[in-house]
């Protein structure tokens, strides 16, 4: 079953067309990585899928429910507010620069949306929060504030925060790009664990060996279009397209 379907998505910023008609499906339990050079539109695609950017044209479907359809003239039409709110609960997003709430403790960062948005009782939220902190290896940091943590720890909190709402699909927008090289490993390990648990994920990343190890499907984007897609062994190990080859030649694989 497809948890997410994107059909012919287009997005421009002013005169600049950033995404020029992209379609992709994400099946339940699969990990899809999106790779490509800076400015290729991969982050914008993720922001469109997570409703942070308004798309110009195309369709966006979560679990068979339309978030965006296209009218006769090819213009994007968004679903009702209530419907979008419901769809919003199907996915979570981990940002490049964490975006933790600095005035909340670690546990409050993880549990507040459970209490405020999902209206869960505090005890239940705390239980979920503690379990997730344990999962990301931060049980001892429950009462710390984000500024007291390393970048890697902050990113692990933000993963726990996204997981707390029990999303069906989790997006990562370059989750290790703001981190020192020695801290990226701890984030990648958490994501690998989630992949082993069959969490459905879409990951925009520059970590090629990680993308190869963790993904079921890899998409190489350049200049607003999908240039090449397929299994990691096809796209990363044996790229056919010249642009993909040129891009990948800069990485140690």
């Amino acid at each position: 079953m497809n948890l997410l379907e994107i059909r012919n998505l287009k997005k421009s910023f002013g005169a600049l067309e950033v995404i020029k008609g992209i379609s992709l499906n994400v099946e339940e339990g699969k990990v899809v990585s999106i790779i490509g050079p800076s400015g290729s539109g991969k982050s914008t695609l993720l922001r469109c899928a997570t409703l942070l950017e308004t798309i110009d044209s195309g369709e966006l479907i979560y679990l068979g429910e339309y978030a965006v359809t296209t009218d006769k003239d090819g213009k994007a039409v968004y679903a009702s507010k209530a419907q979008l709110k419901k769809i919003q609960s199907y996915f979570g997003l981990v940002f490049q620069n964490f975006n933790l709430f600095p005035h909340y403790s670690v546990i409050k960062n993880v549990t507040d949306a459970l209490i405020t948005v999902q209206k869960k009782p505090k005890e239940e939220a705390m239980e979920i929060g503690r379990e997730l902190l344990k999962k990301v290896g931060l049980s001892d940091k429950e009462n710390a504030y984000p500024y007291q943590l390393s970048g890697g720890q902050q990113q692990r909190v933000s993963i726990a925060r996204a997981l707390a709402l029990n999303p069906k699909i989790l997006f990562f927008d370059e989750p290790t790009s703001a981190l020192d090289p020695e801290l990226t490993g701890e984030i990648l390990n958490v994501i690998k664990e989630l992949a082993a648990e069959k969490m459905t994920m879409v990951i925009v990343t520059h970590e090629m060996s990680f993308a190869r190890d963790v993904s079921d499907y890899v998409i190489f984007m350049d200049n607003g279009v999908i240039v090449e897609e397929g299994s990691p062994s096809q796209v990363i190990n044996n790229p056919k397209n010249e642009r993909t080859k040129a891009f990948l030649s800069r990485f140690d694989r």
């Binding site: 005035h103 948005v117 925060r161």
Partner: protein, 216 residues
């Protein structure tokens, strides 16, 4: 005049100054937030109306604004207001003037919060009002506190401008006594009171600032 009588009179004046100070803060702090929203509104008419209001409040002396508010109804509209209007004129004048200054402070604070905070809240499903009240406002308050402290301390001294419309707050009382006695004693007592008042308020603001500095 006996010392005790003089001090009593000036203390009564101090009480009036405290009243102006407190009521101004109670009304202008929330009003300033509303004004800030208006200033940032997508509605062109509202945004520019607020912009002009703020510009006038900051571009003309408070003492003149008090005069207009107190004398305006009679001289412009020929309306005779009851005797108690003097106090209302003082409060109205201070509130609309300080709300304008606070609005600009709030606006600066709100605009300084990274967009990522709004985006994180949105993805987590917070409504717009939940986002503002739970995520944005607490961070804004902490960031603007030093600027607010500045205004609050200025306000203590500004209460003396009520003198312009003969409202008997501390400065007005001290001036009357000093004129009658042809010496400076009343002014010195008032000065000491202003200083102590300021000292206490500054101490409280510092304490709040410390309370809120549990995160970075």
């Amino acid at each position: 005049m006996e010392w005790s009588v003089m001090i009593l009179k000036i203390t009564e004046g101090l009480w009036e100054s405290v009243k102006i100070f407190t009521l101004t803060l109670i009304f202008s702090l929330p009003l300033g937030l509303l004004v800030a929203f208006g200033r940032m509104s997508k509605n062109w008419i509202l945004r520019n109306f607020i912009r002009i209001y703020i510009s006038i409040m900051r571009g003309t002396p408070l003492i003149l604004q008090l005069m207009v508010i107190y004398f305006g109804p009679f001289y412009i509209f020929n309306i005779t207001l009851p005797k108690g209007y003097r106090f209302f004129a003082v409060i109205i004048g201070f509130v609309i003037n300080y709300a304008a200054y606070f609005a600009e402070i709030y606006r600066g604070g709100i605009e300084s919060i990274p967009i990522g905070q709004y985006e994180a809240a949105k993805v987590l499903g917070y409504s717009k009002s939940q986002t503002f009240i739970k995520i944005i406002l607490p961070q804004v308050i902490r960031r603007i506190l030093p600027a607010v402290t500045n205004e609050v301390i200025t306000l203590i001294k500004d209460t003396s401008l009520a003198f312009a419309i003969s409202y008997s707050e501390m400065f007005t009382v001290a001036k009357a006594i000093a004129a009658a006695q042809t010496n400076m004693t009343a002014f010195i007592i008032a000065g000491i009171y202003y200083y102590i008042f300021n000292f206490i308020v500054a101490y409280i603001m510092e304490w709040i600032e410390k309370k809120l500095s549990y995160y970075r």
